[in-house]
């Protein structure tokens, strides 16, 4: 699911601590056009639950995530509003 479409923008939140990945995701999703996809890289453990819930709460579309070989997470969110 995460390789369906190349992300329009990649946001690197690796090394950031809770709640910064969510705050940065919020800030950056606004720079996308509606329908574009943001890929968020994070290694904060809380992100796995936080990012999907944040997307649902703010009515953006969470496309899925994967854990990479390098040990971080890659989330994909589509801006729909």
């Amino acid at each position: 699911m995460s390789t369906d479409k190349k992300a329009d923008k990649v946001l690197d939140c690796r090394g950031m601590l809770c709640p910064e990945p969510v705050l940065e995701t919020k800030k950056n999703i606004k720079s996308l056009e509606i329908g574009q996809v943001l890929e968020v890289l994070a290694d904060d453990r809380g992100s796995v639950e936080d990012i999907p819930r944040w997307a649902k709460r703010t009515k953006q579309e969470f496309l899925g995530y994967e854990e990479t070989d390098e040990g971080h997470y890659s989330f994909r969110i589509k801006r729909i509003k």
């Binding site: 601590l17 809770c18 709640p19 969510v22 705050l23 995701t25 919020k26 709460r57 703010t58």
Partner: protein, 118 residues
Amino acid sequence: MAKKIAIIVSGDTPDKAYPAFILATTAAASDMECHLYFTMMGLNVIKKGFADNITMPGAPPLIGLINRAREMGVYMYGCTVSMPMLQVTEDDFIEGVTCVGAATYLDIAADCDINLYV
């Protein structure tokens, strides 16, 4: 309609200040309207310079969270009753703090979906 959250911050130690600002910034990022009401020793947290060097392992520096909260439109209030107790005036606070009393807090809290006391 946006969800609303109010948090009373009653102390100036990291275990009070951190949860308040982590929740406030995350609430703002989650499209919630957030109100922080600083009372008693909590007033120290919004004094100029107080938070500049406060850090905790595993969390961002406190001043960074406070600045983000201001940028994101989190409302901050200083309790007028507590101000003489701590011998502080409005000029001692960081920018963006409004000094109000108990009735204002209650008026805001009455319309909130989430009300917390730390």
